[in-house]
Amino acid sequence: MRAGQPGWTRRTALGAGSVMVAAMATQASAQLTVTIDRGTIRALPIAVSPFASADPEAAALGVQVAEVVAADLDGSGLFRTIPSTAYLQTPEDLQANGPRYADWRTINAEALVMGTASLADTGTLVVEFRLFDVLSGVELRGLRFTAPTADWRRIAHKVADDVYARITGETGYFDTRIVYVGQTGPATQRVKRLAIMDQDGANNRFLTSGANLVLTPRFAPDGQTIAFLSYAATQPQVRLIQADGTNERVVGSFPGMTFSPRFSPDGRQLAMTIASDGNADLILVDLASRGQRRLTNGPGIDTSPSFSPDGRRLVFNSDRGGSPQLYVMDLASGRTDRISFGQGRYGSPAWSPRGGLIAYVNQRGADFHVGVMRPDGGDERLLTRSYLDEGPRFAPNGRVIVFERADPSRGRSRLNTIDVTGYNIRELPTPVDASDPDWSPLRR
């Protein structure tokens, strides 16, 4: 650490068994900006120096941590990481003497991330990082993270989240997971399993065996419980399972098939569809008392609910007007307004955790689109177009949407992410075909 550097200050535990974080003092306000204009994103050029260590084992991890940080930032589309081969100042020199800003300006870096990795006790990794504004020569941030060595990727994601937040002013979304349905086997007899992975595709694991058809997993707000549709029983039903694959259980007994579960923002209730006698309606189930409240009662199909972040409203899909469209219901008054009036058919609405946008699927002509509109139906924008785009769900910061894209010409189905501005579409790596994604909250 450099002379005159303020020492470590706060130390905050962020939940059991997780990553400890401590702030190093300097908290200058960010001068750097990512410009998102109508039409272009000017990605911020950033250098991420390999995290240094005297210990070879820690040094190897330090290099990997820096690579994950760089991949996260690059993947957001808001940053452009400069390849480390271009760096003029070595990690060791950076560590010993601090940034030589001229060197970083020469390679057009506007921000610089540096850090160290060390192994404390057995199996504990300590990572310290600092973020610099290269143009003004100011340190913006310094943090220390401590976690089990096995969780080194989580530390990297937390570093990337902090850099992202410092520079964009928005909360990050890198230390998160995605639950989805993994698909294998022939199209007429697909084997579907619940799967969960880190947001960048790492640490993929399957939660169910594939013996029974499973669909539409949805995270509870704590990120630990998942609601999904199971065909294990004679009558398909909503079930719950823990994110580690344990404790699969039913929600209750209902006089009809239940599906399309969504947790309320407080995690206490589950909105879902019950279908019987040819009629699909929305109900609200209290998870503690298992009490039920019927939300809709019409002859049409009402399904795919999604709560507003304050829990007071619900956007859902209904064909009550003759074709599938989006409706918003005020839960206290029951007042319901149609919000989709564009061409074609609408479905799969998802309310942004930020509140200001609803993502959905729009089907017009031969194409499927993922689009966004305001909760009052205004400012509709279609972001994607393909043969089949389905199931949009927001990252917890409301900035990125994950969705499924099926490509029959290549016989594959994959998860993709896209920025809400419609830029930076990227395919997520999954070991098998994938559908039905849901994005976890930020991990604690």
Partner: protein
Amino acid sequence: MRLLAVLACILVLAGCARNTPEEPVLDSAVTGAGNASGPLAGSQAALQAAAGDTVYFAFDSSVVRPESQAVLRQQAAWLQQNPNVRVAIEGHTDERGTREYNIALGERRANAVRTYLIGLGVPASQMTTVSYGEERPASVGSGEQSWAANRRAVTSVLGTS
């Protein structure tokens, strides 16, 4: 489920019209299985031969079409002739819709068939419904011909009661 029912019938084949699972006639299963000359009574194959087990729907519709009515009349007659056979009406859709909407649409189709069969005198207790939405296509393809083949309700023999 359906496979199990067929297997059970094979096991008790050789002139054994009624399925009595508590008395499997294993001997005749060995000799009889190879000599089958027609579909087993009360089996999916028998339903298919007597009536056809599938009816098709228009896009986003659960209305029983005129051309389906003859099939369903024959299904109703067959179900009444085989009152101990229980069936599930499976509702299916094409992939041209959202997954959850399609589950609801499949349920609506299955129920339309069930209601139609009840109207023809089939006891409601003989039939259950289940929707698979777009999850179990009969035809794999990305054109109208495949989609039309997948918009269907299949009457599926569960077994005997």
